[in-house]
């Protein structure tokens, strides 16, 4: 694992010591090369885990997330080039350093063996994200957004620290490999209930669960493009990954405790999808659609069946790529029109036809068109939820319909229809933007040919 972490750390001196006109080229190329090396993790010699050391390991759950994280860094760097043009040199380098630090923390989070290391890195990812949102965001509301983001996540994860210390004291170890075999089944007592809550709340806030989701629209909308991309693609999946890791230790209490959260997620799915239909701000629409997809992941993880776990992991990867691509598209609009309101930039297909193709592909994957991996994820989750309780099919079906509605609404409003006068002279798309979109959609489409690598450890 050090073969990823050390090169990523060394990207920092690379940015600071590069010549002025080579910063972007150097950092993007080298991070792309590092991301190719992460594909090595895909070869697993046995059914268990690929152990690298006592501190780091990888298994079929963390591998796809790790590959996604490392793939995203060059994409984030490509997307940020335009809005950082006017900044002084030191600030540009600082921004790239923030992204690289975030990347290091994320790699360590996804590969940590010890749960305390996982927790420390989980919290550490908050700091560079907060700095990116509050310093480089676009509007005055970003301070508010940063506050919401920081405090929601911190307050949710503080009980987790207490619970982890307690677990360390009772079972003697927090090493993930040992904990699977050494945990005692939890009985339904008050203290166990609180421990269950303490373990899960941090990840529920991060996912986010419907009732605790207020930070997400603010943070996603006010963050600069790289911030939005990493938030939507990776940081939300930290919550899902954490939940998937910690639920084996909380049996059989989960069967009782999960009900309220299942209800909240099922209802929240439909609520946030419906809010998407009424959104006027493009980034806000994509943020709410993230909440809706993640609610599916929460329900899948909470019912703890093999198919639902497979669906959850697939959906996490698929949503990461799709959401990140949608944010990149929204940013390309914003850079031209300087407004995020959807109705002010309409009928763009005539002016930017190739970008319209990317919009079409992104919207189609967002609404889970077969045979993309989005559909595989949603289908697995739907089937396992149906076997858990027949009535959930109504809610899930409604959610799929509303998801289709708002994805097509977004596509039609921005691309088709009569354009207004003030979109007459849009700057044509840059090759960099086309590369960005292509590098998002090509993995997504290729994965539909071989989805078993993202189906997780229960495949």
């Amino acid at each position: 694992m050090l073969k990823f972490i050390i090169p990523t750390i060394m990207l920092m001196p690379l940015t600071w010591l590069s010549k002025n006109n080579l910063i972007w080229i150097n950092s993007t190329t080298h991070s792309l090369l590092i991301s190719f090396t992460s594909l090595l993790l895909l070869t697993q010699s046995n059914d268990n885990n690929l152990n690298y050391s006592l501190t780091f390991f990888s298994d079929p759950l963390s591998t796809p997330l790790l590959i996604l994280t490392m793939w995203l860094l060059p994409l984030m760097l490509m997307a940020s080039q335009s809005h950082l043009l006017k900044e002084p040199l030191a600030r540009k380098k600082l921004y790239i350093t923030m992204l690289i630090t975030l990347q290091v923390f994320l790699i360590m989070t996804f590969t940590a063996t010890e749960l305390i290391l996982f927790y420390i890195m989980f919290e550490a990812t908050l700091v560079p994200t907060l700095i990116i949102i509050t310093r480089w965001g676009n509007q005055t509301e970003r301070l508010n957004a940063g506050l919401y983001f920081l405090f929601y996540t911190l307050l949710g994860s503080l009980p987790l620290l207490v619970a982890l210390t307690y677990l360390q004291n009772t079972t003697g170890t927090l090493n993930f490999l040992l904990m699977q075999y050494w945990t005692q089944p939890l009985s339904t007592s008050w203290s166990n209930t609180f421990m269950w809550l303490a373990c899960m709340m941090a990840f529920m806030v991060k996912m986010p669960l419907y009732g605790l989701h207020l930070w997400l629209p603010k943070a996603h909308v006010e963050a600069p493009i790289a911030g939005s991309m990493v938030l939507a693609a990776v940081l939300l999946k930290l919550g899902g990954y954490g939940m998937l890791r910690i639920t084996p230790m909380l049996n059989p209490l989960t069967e009782h405790m999960a009900y309220p959260f299942l209800m909240l997620s099922l209802w929240g799915m439909i609520m946030t999808s419906s809010i998407c239909l009424r959104q006027t701000d493009l980034k806000s629409l994509i943020a709410y659609s993230s909440i809706s997809h993640m609610a599916l992941v929460i329900t899948a993880i909470l019912i703890q069946t093999p198919w639902s776990y497979m669906g959850a992991t697939t959906l996490m990867i698929a949503h990461g790529l799709t959401s990140s691509m949608l944010f990149c598209l929204a940013n390309s609009n914003y850079e031209r029109i300087h407004s995020r309101t959807m109705i002010l930039a309409r009928g763009l297909q005539i002016f930017l036809p190739l970008m319209a193709t990317w919009w079409l592909l992104a919207s189609l994957t967002n609404l889970a068109l077969p045979p993309t991996i989005n559909l595989i994820g949603e289908l697995f989750v739907m089937m396992s939820m149906f076997s858990w309780s027949n009535l959930t099919i109504i809610l899930m079906g409604t959610n799929i319909v509303i998801t289709t509605l708002y994805s097509l609404y977004m596509l039609i409003t921005t691309q088709y229809g009569k354009h207004t006068y003030h979109v007459n002279n849009l700057t044509p798309s840059f090759t960099r933007e086309h590369t960005l979109m292509a590098l998002h959609i090509i993995p997504l489409l290729l994965l539909s040919l071989n989805p078993k690598i993202i189906l997780g450890p229960l495949y």
Partner: protein, 492 residues
């Protein structure tokens, strides 16, 4: 805490009376302090707009979708219709930048306030017709919860245009355009043509010497209080979520794109990215990132357009076409004449160019006279020239209405026309080269009466891409380059 307990516990006792005044002062200060602390806590909690670094509440926001330069009746009308025609509430963020919140030099409030449909261009007639319908139903359009209804003091007394022999044919043709025909589905104006004898019978105080024909608007014409309309719009627009900013636009930051037309001509299209708004009486400015800019700055629209680079180019090209709006000063005089025309007096426009109308119920009259090109007063300030009344206005008034020979001028003021030197009609719609700039200015004296309809037209172009209800294509900017004048055929 102790003081509070004492106050609550003892009430009007010895201790209370003894420390009476001193106690009251301290409890008031205590309550004030508590409420201040509460306000501070509320602003710090998430949800408030407090920033610990620096207080920027006096500056406009850093970003706004639409920036409207000018907060007079046209600017507010565009803001109102934008907010009204947006498909969902709160979709578009609008910022109105107004340099002078007392409106001391704005044309809106210094206007005589008349509204008429007696124009010769059908677009002007339709604009005034919609505006009068807006004004008649103003309390449905501009209703704000918990606020009192507006009283526009609309006097529907009509306009009376007098024509001499030479102008009689033009007047007849105009009236034909104004009246509704069964071919057009538009409504028309109700205008009645009168001969001098009919005129003498109806308005005995008129001297019909030199008058060949008169047209009298029977309905939907008159005058109203412009200040009330402005306040009503301001109040409504603020309740709909439009932000106001007290500042002056000093700079536009834009980017250019060199493109080619289908015939191979090279053209440079510009797009405004930022508007720099300077705060009053300070050097501080705020760059406001915007998607669309609307110029509704009235008499100063020409200067704002120059800031945006309109007109910087070789003359005779589209790039070199300036916005031909400049301020022109006009005087308005208020006089008292005890024997003057009664309550039925309309706004009378003499063929010489002098006009007057009744003001209030005490035999006071407002009036003025448009000077010729050579006699144009200097628009540098709003000082009134009283000799102008003596020499130019009074003779015409006294000739037309003999009772006005014994009048006494009470007050006078001056206001600006946003005078369009090209054809004295408004400029509406987008600019062909600066793609995200829209105009709503240059109405040369009849802007107030057309403001509601023009606001709706501009909002439609911004949101839908074309004029939907009233087609104002003759009023686009491109006519200055193509040379197509949309001229009113006056009877003078």
């Amino acid at each position: 805490m102790l003081r509070r307990a004492l106050r609550l516990g003892l009430g009007p006792g010895l201790l209370g009376r003894g420390l009476g005044t001193h106690r009251e002062g301290s409890t008031l200060a205590w309550d004030g302090k508590v409420s201040e602390i509460k306000k501070k806590i509320q602003s710090i909690l998430p949800g408030g707009a407090w920033s610990p670094l620096c207080d920027t509440s006096h500056l406009p926001p850093e970003h706004s979708d639409v920036v409207i330069v000018g907060g007079g009746v046209l600017g507010l009308s565009v803001a109102y219709w934008l907010k009204r025609l947006e498909k969902q509430q709160g979709a578009i963020r609008v910022l109105v930048v107004e340099r002078d919140h007392t409106y001391s030099q704005a044309s809106t409030v210094l206007s005589v306030g008349g509204i008429r449909q007696q124009f010769s261009l059908p677009e002007n007639i339709q604009l005034s017709l919609f505006s009068v319908e807006f004004l008649r139903n103003i309390n449905e359009y501009l209703a704000v919860v918990d606020d009192p209804p507006l009283d526009l003091q609309f006097n529907p007394s009509g306009y009376l245009f007098l024509a001499s022999e030479e102008g009689a044919t033009i007047m007849e043709n105009n009236v034909k355009v104004q009246r509704p025909t069964h071919f057009s589905r538009q409504e028309g104006a109700k205008v009645c043509l009168m001969s001098p004898e009919q005129l003498q019978k109806k308005f005995p105080w008129i001297n019909t010497e030199g008058v060949a024909l008169a047209s009298y608007g029977l309905e939907n014409e008159g005058w109203f209080d412009p200040w009330c309309l402005l306040q009503g719009l301001r109040r409504k627009v603020q309740s709909m979520g439009v932000l106001f900013c007290h500042g002056e636009v000093t700079r536009f930051v834009s980017s250019s794109n060199h493109m080619e037309t289908t015939s191979g001509e090279k053209v440079t299209l510009r797009r405004i990215h930022e508007v720099h708004v300077k705060v009053d009486r300070s050097q501080e400015y705020q760059p406001v990132e915007c998607a669309i800019v609307v110029i509704a700055a009235g008499a100063w629209s020409g200067q704002i357009a120059e800031l945006a680079g309109i007109g910087k180019g070789p003359p005779g090209t589209l790039q070199g076409t300036r916005l031909p709006v400049e301020p022109r000063k006009r005087y308005v005089y208020l006089w008292h004449c005890p024997q003057g025309p009664g309550l039925e007096a309309p706004l009378v426009a003499d063929p010489s160019g002098a006009y007057f109308r009744r003001e209030g119920l005490g035999n006071n009259y407002l009036g003025g006279y448009s000077p010729t090109e050579e006699e144009e007063p200097d628009p540098g300030n709003l000082e009134v020239d009283h000799d102008f009344f003596q020499e130019k206005v009074w003779p015409h008034l006294a000739r037309r209405v003999p009772a006005f020979e014994t009048l006494k001028v009470r007050r006078a003021w001056a206001g600006y026309y946003d005078y369009n030197t090209f054809d004295q009609n408004g400029v509406v719609g987008p600019h062909p080269l600066v793609v995200n700039m829209y105009f709503a200015t240059g109405f040369s004296g009849h802007g107030l009466q057309q403001a509601p309809a023009v606001g709706r037209a501009v909002a439609e172009v911004m949101l839908e891409g074309r004029f939907q209800t009233i087609d104002l294509s003759p009023f686009l900017f491109s006519r200055f380059y193509l040379g197509e004048k949309a001229q009113e055929h006056c009877i003078i």
